[in-house]
């Protein structure tokens, strides 16, 4: 059976996934860029 309100459901789920994915990618890329400028002893997690 076809889903009712498919546009709203797809837009809500898709928009949320896109926003979180874009933010996660930005965080990871910024982390990589900054890690190269900071000595290893200040990166306690590694």
């Amino acid at each position: 059976m076809a889903m009712t309100h498919a546009f709203y459901v797809a837009a809500g789920w898709g928009g949320a996934a896109a926003l979180v994915s874009a933010y996660a990618v930005w965080v990871l890329r910024r982390g990589r860029a900054l890690s190269r400028q900071v000595p290893p002893e200040e990166r306690r997690w590694s």
């Binding site: 809500g12 982390g31 002893e41 306690r44």
Partner: protein, 286 residues
Amino acid sequence: MTPTTSSTPTASTEAAAGLPAGAGPAHTGSRASRVLGILALGSLALLALYGLVWSPADAEMADSVRLMYIHVPAASFLYTGCFITTVASAMWLRRRTPGWDALAGTSAEISLVFAAITLGTGSLWGRPTWGTYWTWDARLTATALLTALLIGYLALRRLDVDPSARSTRAAVLGLLLVPNVIIVNRSVEWWRSLHQESTLVKLDPTIEGDMLVALMVGFLAVGLVFTWLLVHRFRVAWLEYQSERLDLDAALAERRAEAARGGLGRSPDRRHDGAAGGGRAGGAPA
């Protein structure tokens, strides 16, 4: 939250300031964060199956109810993020350690992402349910004000002023987040509202069966994503702090070396360079 570094730069830190790429892992990941990431992805896949396939449509709202499995957990972790920011702000005002300041900013930024998801999915859910994307209802308006407060908080953190004063001002604003969250949460009871009351925070929840399971999986998945983002963004904030500190240390060392050279005797060439604007701005006194 305790700082993991001293405020005084060490010789090895200064020496390592110009490290080439590849000295140690150049990322914010660790074994724990990778496990967390895998769990988050797995729970998101489970959420998609439960939320979009296995759970039934609602008798009144039909399939639009599937937006609830994102909307409600996102709103809950928006509140959680605001709570963390307020607590971290209070700790910064008390202890003045950079870790608390970084945590406050990190949590506020992630809260803004979840606020956008809450407002976006709420609007999309409102259109088929209420017949409109937006109305100046108490819950919606309070959530919009909370979002504006988060934007203001993050804008304040980006002001180009003394870092300590900037953090203090932001922390004072950060203290207002939890009172705002209480207003948002209680708004459906304090004022007449189009928005439904809490679905779960009572002994007899208004949903059951697969819909309840889907919502619980939603809380788990969104919670893991929130935690993963918090861990990585906190590490980025910590790197930003260290990078700023190393830049300052390097600039100070350069100024001291320049002053020492100037103390030994100025050459006519150096005075010429400074006059022509080729030297450092505000060159060190002899």
